[in-house]
Symmetry: C2
Subunit: 404 residues, 2 copies
């Protein structure tokens, strides 16, 4: 595949498309802004002319007002620091900034992409065609779409429904409020529908709704890296009483259930976890063994053999005594012990690192994020994020009639 | 003030309290856990004995199962890396971990404390007495309380009401759900009330409710560092179309209003901001001048003189081209320009840095957070956090009948 770059003002793009046609170039990516989204009286007219020239000449247009295509397999990118490896996530974003954020946010947590397409004003290639493309693309196992407005409503809905039949589709609809809709009009010239309408359509199509880019990543990681949860019952392993109470509230609010740990397992745990200062309920507060990875493994093994729970969350908070634990490398062995032991037991699993404030704490966070990314373990910045992602994938599997 | 530390098992603490009495010591801080919160049959009995001995001997007890007192003025701390300077926030937390998190989270954003008290099982000194103390404490201008359960319901409610009359009080109630309540029982032996009950009591008392430690900090920063907003109308300055749409949705969902920028101000802005790729609505997308702090100042000056807006939010996203901007130190001058120019105009102001993923991006985040902390500018990790804090302080001021 060959690429060429030319820099021209908006009004000269029509000629560029004609030149493409003359040279047999099939796709023009129009990075240039200042078209229908701006307040130029000629912006909309120019878009119409571009589309006419393109249709007549057989050149397809991506954009204008977009960043183009990130496709690691052919070494094409719009971010100099994007991962060079390909992966199973196919994404298209009407915002180039959101496309960047998706690759950064997902990339650091181990997500890799078949393609990420920033498609801007969508005057030719639009969200319906992109959804159709990713639905049939064999390299893509999960689709993420950031959409501000829809050009072909009926076609898009059919495409969304068909795609969601084929593979999980996460839709982040920007401009759902009156204020956001006005911003979207100025951003990509999009006319948007209401939140209620979109929420209904996404649900009816069997897709998953998200409200920001990080949530798209949260959900995709659970789909890619987590074995489908057998149900809503979770066990949480953490450090600190306040964090334990918070994680219980967060799980409950996300619709997850924290069943009481049976007496025989509690007795087992008390053999190697000190009673004072720890909590033998669910969530478990096992701060007393946070410097003992073997005991972490034993805990996961004890609770993991229990048929009363479907998912295990390891909540490796950093705030309390975090700098110390990072400095002496005490947290990484815990997370590694959790990761390796969850492979022995028949459960879904996720890791949380919360309460990151100091520079030292961030280094620990970054290290544990990398450990999880390397191991294919879903990683979250709070129990709230993890619980929300687990809830959404459970709803997704239930919607498909999968046995839970 | 003198301090002494002794290490004994839970059962020996009664004798320690007797020794305190004999030596004329007035306060015993019982760090030791394994009392009423544990499942020892003797835990509750031991607490009763401790209270009896204390009452008879005149020694006051903090805890057990607590971290004690952080009081920078007398150089007393339970965290070796807590700030040494005093400040206007007085806090008491039933969880020692949450107390740590509060000092870390707030400290890095410029918040300083009169005292932070971790009070654990509250067998003697309890939340009611602590609220009474901070209400009358002249050093404390804002109170933050993390509470799992209440020992003296009527007294606490009266204290909360009186405190909220005197100064802003932020209450984070842990264990609001059935799952969280069970965890709180095991953490500090607390019997907790329902979310509905607590929500109603906090509101009726004129206090502010928060749902996690970071939100306590978000709100306290707006109370301490932000001039009280004259109303719900905000203008947002940012970089990137997707971020602009997201910030509009986030503001709207928090109940803030984004009024349209008048034509004359838009014309003024177009004199020094390129039209293509930027958005002259509200939120403003001014990515085209993100390497020009003087133009940032001019923008803030233009919009800041407008009487149609109450608060200004600078959204210095890091994700898109962030590493580059951090490496060449392009973001800090922008934030400094925003901070200094908002002092010229008659508006509330806040800074947001979102989309932080890379190590380089974190360095930029940390640097901008410090810049804001040094300048007394409230700093938030997303527009959603900033908008939520602004909404909550507006409700607080309105509840007091302050003119908005």
């Amino acid at each position: 595949m060959d690429f060429a770059f030319v820099q021209v003002p908006a009004k000269a793009t029509v000629q560029v498309v004609r030149d493409c046609a003359a040279k047999g170039i099939k796709l023009a990516v129009l990075f240039t802004a200042g078209f229908g989204e701006s307040e130029n009286e000629w912006g909309k007219e120019l878009e119409e002319e571009l589309v006419n020239v393109a249709r007549q000449s057989g050149v397809r247009l991506l954009g204008p007002n977009c960043m183009g295509v990130y496709c690691p397999a052919v070494r094409l990118t719009f971010g100099p620091d994007f991962p060079v490896e390909s992966g199973p996530v196919g994404a298209f974003c009407q915002s180039g900034g959101n496309a960047h954020q998706l690759v950064y946010s997902g990339g650091h947590r181990g997500m890799r992409f078949s393609q990420v397409i920033s498609y801007g004003n969508a005057i030719d290639i639009n969200e319906a065609e992109l959804m159709e493309y990713f639905a049939q693309d064999q390299e893509t196992r999960v689709i993420i779409a950031y959409i501000e407005g829809v050009k072909e409503g009926r076609r898009f809905y059919q495409a969304l429904k068909a795609a969601a039949q084929a593979k999980p589709v996460i839709v982040f609809k920007g401009g759902q409020t009156i204020a956001g809709a006005a911003a979207a009009l100025s951003h990509t010239g999009s006319l948007v529908g209401s939140n209620e309408l979109w929420g209904g359509l996404i649900k009816q199509a069997g897709a998953i709704q998200a409200y920001n880019i990080d949530e798209c990543v949260d959900i995709a990681l659970a789909l890619l890296f987590m074995r489908p949860p057998g149900g809503r019952r979770v066990a949480v392993f953490g450090n600190g009483g306040g964090a334990t109470v918070q994680s219980a509230d967060d799980c409950y609010r996300a619709g997850l259930v924290l069943p009481a740990i049976p007496a025989d397992i509690r007795d087992e745990l008390k053999e190697f976890i000190p009673v004072a200062g720890n909590i033998f309920r669910n969530p478990l507060d096992i701060g007393g063994i946070f410097d003992k990875p073997n005991e972490i493994s034993s805990t996961v093994r004890s609770v993991g053999k229990w048929t009363g729970v479907d998912s295990l969350i390891f909540n490796a908070g950093i705030g309390l005594a975090g700098d110390y634990m990072v400095e002496f490398n005490l947290l990484k062995p815990n997370v590694e012990a959790f990761i390796s032991t969850t492979k022995e037991v028949d459960k879904s699993a996720a890791v949380v690192v919360h309460a990151v404030y100091s520079d030292q704490g961030y280094r620990g966070f970054s290290q544990l994020r990398q450990t999880c990314a390397d191991a294919g373990m879903p990683f979250y910045p709070s129990v709230q994020h993890a619980a929300n992602a687990i809830d959404k994938v459970i709803r997704y599997y239930q919607g498909r009639g999968s046995p839970l």
